[in-house]
Amino acid sequence: MASVKISKPLPALPADWNSESSFIVHAPLSPAVHRNLSPAGPHFLAHARRKRHSRTFSEDDRIQAQQNVKNVEDEDASEISEAESPLLLSRDPKDWKNQDHYAVLGLSKYRYKATDEQIKKAHRKKVLKHHPDKKAAVGAVDDDSFFKCIQKAMEVLSDPVKRRQFDSVDEGANRDPPSKKSKGNFYKGWGLVFESEGRFSRKQPVPKLGDDKSTKADVEEFYNFWYNFDSWRTFEYLDEEVPDDNENRDQKRYIQRKNNASRAKRKTEDTARLRKLVDDALSLDTRIKKFREEEKKLRNAKKDAREAEEKRLAEEARIKAEEEKKRKEEEEAREKAQKADSKKAKEAAKNAVKKNRRVLKGSVKDVNYFVSGNATPALIDSVLGEVDLVIAKIDNEDLQTLAKSLSAAKGADAVKSTWVEAVGELVKKGSAKAEDFKVFAA
């Protein structure tokens, strides 16, 4: 806090001051009144700060002063504060074509990356420092050459078109590729090269070089991008100055033509240079080799797998065929045996049936067709017809049981009752009709 200066003097120490101490307390202060401060204004905020952090005046002063110093430092650090070399300061403003405009404004570490805002600020700062009026006030010689340099730099850098032209030929921003023999990190060295070359690209953002872990797609995209590079770089800045209007018109046109030719030539050269640069990088890029090997390995692995698979399949097919053959042979043998068996059985059955039929027919003949004396042919016919009908209707098993029971039966009545029983059974089964039977009817 600033002190108040009071011109009136302090009174002299009275003669009767006899105390040993040089400070005497007489009375305390009168009681205070509590009031509300208006919470507004910078001084109140200072009061609030002191109160909240319970600082005394001197503590707060010190802390604030430290903070201010820090703020100022931060501001300076964030802004442009490059040392100005005497060589730079003594530049001739007429030689502006060769002037490094970024260095003049103290932006040489930003260069093409400097924002318009930074350029504006840097210019303001430099103008404040180097304004001729200020130099004159200090009593220095009336030398405004560096001021002119600053103005020229601003003229170029504040105009987007002119700035591009200057950026195109700004050697300060170029990065030389690392030499082939150097053992440095490929990605670090070349990454910077491509970053600085990338500033000329119309397409933004420019893909990054990446590192060991980049995928194949990324790497391919990177080299594709660089082989199809679309550059805005122009070389107008290096044009030879076209003479004034009052000079010879032909001469003027000649120089213009020459300029155009040299621009085109430089552009071609630049494209070739970039192409070579990318070729070099590609040849040095270990990732390409790595990818190729990986691919080969992958392809080989595929082939092996395919062959193994084929072999396995062939083996499987062979085993299967053998099994099939074996199975077939077995089946044939079995079938043959079966056939033989069934033939025998059929014959046996046939014989049995014949035999049974014979028994059946014999049974009625034995009992003289159920009559005593000579049987009439009509009766024999009807009895045999019914027997034939039963034989036709009856199945083999029943035939056998019937044959058995018939051979067991003795006497006409027993034979007849057996027949009646068999016919009843047949009728019950539904294979014969009751009305067809007269003799064997129940």
């Binding site: 108040v4 302090l10 009174p11 009031r35 509300n36 204004g41 005046f57 987007p160």
Partner: protein, 572 residues
């Protein structure tokens, strides 16, 4: 094409939330204004889309169309039922508490569950919707915010809003809520007189800001007048007293002109123009005439088809107007005198006067108030001080300055800083000073009403080699009245003060002086061996419990004395 190969798009004002944009809003009953601070710290008032820096606090609806400001104000003539004006003072109050006198010429508030509301036709059809005072306020604040956002090109996120000193806590809460509904964060609500003081303080150097004085702020508005005595101590402000007059203001002056012109119109045309609509027209024009009279010595009024198809053109000169308005001026002057009395101070204790509010443009008011005080007192009004700021803009400027000071604060910081634990502070009841000079007079170092803890440093000359004494005292202020022979200077200020001073011309006049005397001695310090031409620096430090810490030393030497006076028991 930009030189920068990757031109980034400009930040979208709707998305960019990192940067806070804050403004100051003076939310007045009659007019509002908005202000911002430029990057170099100067407060500037923003003109809205219509170019107005004082935006009438008026909203009007025609169909679904909403009008604001000057446009809405002109609707008071044709569309008064759908026009809301003078609504600030209704905010946060119950219907039973409000005084709707000023709303007789516009939409009248109605009682909806105790909340003052307005019945307005807001749609294209004839239906009437009820809009509460809170919604009206929100609309108004949104319009102000949008105007500021358009002007600044960035979305305004927060604001400091000024209110009169008698704004209650409920009213403040209602204001914060209304602003929040309009997506505007209220950083802080500050009082109008303090904002006015801040607006002037912002032009001063830190040293000038630290000068202790009592500032009288007269806020003369459209519908009401407020006065406050603000003690400025080391740049901190304490409101010592406030006075309010809710019927006094620019509208009363308009009435004076309306009456004047009405009489003239009756004389000319035998028709009384005081029908509702004619009166509205007349009021609108009279206000303009009043403004012109603040600048020139005469002004014209011209209204087509005022009443019965008669056009009205007339001229009035300032003297005529001032005579008619004398009663209003008297009231204003007595309000000012009143507030000084309320602060238990004498007019002589006032070190500076700030006139704020639109009515302060009136030259006669400024000169009448200036006449109350000695000539050494600055009266900050356009009529008395060429460098005065526009009184209509003071609140908004002050608010903008405060907003720029606290823009980096968190909500928590602001709350903590405005907490009573911080704002309520003990204030010295007596000035503290030292005895100086041959005549042992009292010289103030710390004024009365200084908030403690406080620190002041003073330097004194040393006249002769030898020992000096620093006697720290409490002082007391006395008004000494002396009878002095009046020098005849009646002619000098004849035209504006002849009425009052005619009778006193020959009499003896009282001369009142403010004298400080020693009340009691607190402590004495002896400094030995000071050299002639040297300086003694005295630092006085009063702690918050009224302990006094004195350090006196001869500048540039090791000679010095330190001492402490412990606080009286129980006084803190």
């Amino acid at each position: 094409m930009s030189g920068n190969p990757s031109p980034s798009p400009p930040p979208d004002p709707e998305i960019d939330d990192d940067t806070k944009t804050v403004i100051g809003i003076a939310f007045g009953n009659t007019t509002s204004s908005i202000a911002y601070t430029t990057p170099d710290g100067k407060a500037e008032v923003i003109a809205n889309e219509e170019g107005d820096r004082q935006i009438p606090t008026v909203l009007s609806w025609v169909g679904s169309e909403e009008y604001h400001g000057t446009q809405a104000k002109s609707h008071l003539v044709r569309n008064s039922k759908n026009t809301v004006a003078y609504f600030r003072d209704f905010l946060g109050k119950k219907y039973s508490e409000i005084d709707p006198t000023n709303s007789h010429n516009s939409a009248h508030p109605v009682d909806i569950d105790g909340v003052p509301s307005f019945n307005l036709q807001q749609g294209d059809d004839e239906t009437v919707s009820t809009v509460s005072i809170n919604e009206i306020t929100t609309r108004h604040l949104i319009r102000l915010k949008d105007s500021a956002s358009d002007f600044l090109g960035r979305r305004v996120t927060g604001a400091v809003i000024t209110v009169p000193t008698d704004f209650s806590d409920t009213q403040k809460e209602a204001l914060v809520a209304a602003a929040k509904a309009g997506e505007l964060e209220v950083l802080q609500i500050i009082h109008e007189p303090v904002a006015a003081v801040l607006a002037y303080a912002a032009r001063q150097t830190p040293e000038e800001q630290g000068v202790d004085k009592n500032i009288l702020v007269a806020d003369l508005g459209g519908t009401r007048c407020d006065a406050a005595v603000v003690a400025s101590r080391g740049g901190m402000y304490t409101i010592l007293a406030t006075a309010h007059d809710y019927g006094l203001g620019g509208l009363k002056l308009d009435e004076v002109l309306v009456d004047h012109f009405s009489k003239e119109f009756i004389k000319k045309h035998k028709v009384d123009p005081r029908s509702e609509r004619s009166l509205a027209k007349l009021r609108l024009e009279a206000e303009g005439t009043k403004r012109t009279l603040s600048l020139g010595t005469s002004a014209t009024i011209s209204i087509e088809s005022l009443a019965d198809g008669y056009d009205f053109h007339s001229t009035v000169n300032r003297l005529r107007y001032e005579l008619s308005a004398k009663k209003v001026f008297d009231q204003i002057v007595s309000l000012v005198e009143n507030v000084v009395k309320k602060a238990e101070l004498d007019l002589l204790d006032i070190g500076e006067v700030i006139l704020s509010g639109g009515t302060s443009h009136t030259p006669k008011i400024a000169s009448r108030i200036a006449a109350l005080f000695p000539e050494s007192v600055t009266v900050n009004a356009p009529a008395t001080l060429a460098t005065a700021l526009n009184p209509s803009e003071l609140s908004a400027r002050g608010a903008a300055i405060q907003a720029s000071l606290i823009v980096e604060f968190d909500q928590e910081d602001i709350e903590q800083s405005t907490h009573p634990a911080v704002t309520v502070a003990p204030h010295l009841s007596h000035p503290i000073g030292v005895v100086i000079g041959e005549d042992n007079s009292f010289h103030t170092i710390l004024e009365a009403q200084t908030a403690v803890p406080a620190r002041r440093i003073a330097q004194f000359d040393v006249q002769a080699d030898g020992d000096v004494i620093v006697r720290i005292c409490e002082g007391i202020r006395e008004i000494v009245v002396e009878k002095v022979e009046r020098q005849v200077n009646g002619e000098k200020d004849e035209d504006d003060s002849e009425d009052e001073e005619d009778e006193e011309d020959e009499e003896e006049e009282e001369e009142r002086n403010r004298v400080l005397k020693v009340h009691k001695v607190i402590a004495e310090a002896a400094i030995r061996g000071a050299k002639k031409g040297g300086k003694v620096e005295v630092t006085i430090n009063v702690s918050s419990d009224l302990g006094l810490n004195v350090a006196a030393r001869v500048v540039g030497t090791q000679i010095g004395v330190r001492g402490e006076v412990s606080p009286e028991a129980g006084s803190a």
